[in-house]
Point group: C2
Chain length 134, copies 2
Amino acid sequence: MITYTIGKLAQAANINHETVRFYERKGLLPKPSRSPAGYRLYTDDDLKRLHFILLAKKHGFTLADIQELLELRVAPSSTCEEVKLKADQKITIIKDKIAELRSMQRALTTLASTCHGSGPAGKCPILDAFEINN
Amino acid sequence: MITYTIGKLAQAANINHETVRFYERKGLLPKPSRSPAGYRLYTDDDLKRLHFILLAKKHGFTLADIQELLELRVAPSSTCEEVKLKADQKITIIKDKIAELRSMQRALTTLASTCHGSGPAGKCPILDAFEINN
DNA sequence: TACAACATTGTACCATACTACAAGGCAAGA
DNA sequence: TCTTGCCTTGTAGTATGGTACAATGTTGTA
């Protein structure tokens, strides 16, 4: 069986080894077995789990979300529906964020376009807009 | 001249009075004058400045950005162009964020649609997808 | 005048997600 | 064997943007 020390695991997952320890403290990674000298020994399953965590994170889940997902996966009574529900909830949150960012973008674009780009900032239309509109 | 105590100012801006103190510590709000008893006394100019801060924040500027904007506004040598540049930079960042969120949304939507929504989570396609794709 | 509501200060805490030490032990190659 | 590099631990710091609290002083209203 292939085992990894913390450094190798971190390298394989392309993250800082302190982050691995952090995830262990957070309960995202199980406490690994130890070598006679006390070194953490990780397996391929741990690497898979780490990949799961990193991928879920990339997909917009917070560490708290991921912990829930991992628990769902372990609990024999949990259903696919629960997981689907969490994914749907996250999609809704993402949609809201996009809408918010779009509105910010529109506002800033309008503001930037009214600025002719010269003259003292005290009379910059962008700043004026911030003061007039509230 | 109308003056506000910290509570009135906070109320007028619809924020926590501790936030006002926080902004003062951060240098976003100037140190206000004091009443004989040591109470902070704010003017309409302070309220305007606070509105500027809150509006800029709403438009996607961080407190550090806002501090820069406020400094630009004060410096007589600064130009509108500098402010426009900052706004444009922020627009670029916002666009990138939107693109990132869209890709997350697409991925999650695909994952959620492959999940039929029943059965044990151990065999949920969403979780499978997280483990297979890396 | 009593008393509630507001103000003051410094400091510490919250969440999120790490990152960085110091002081020491262990392992592997030249 | 020596030296470098990796490992261990606990603790503390980073960034962002606040929020909370205790102990104490002040103000306004009934």
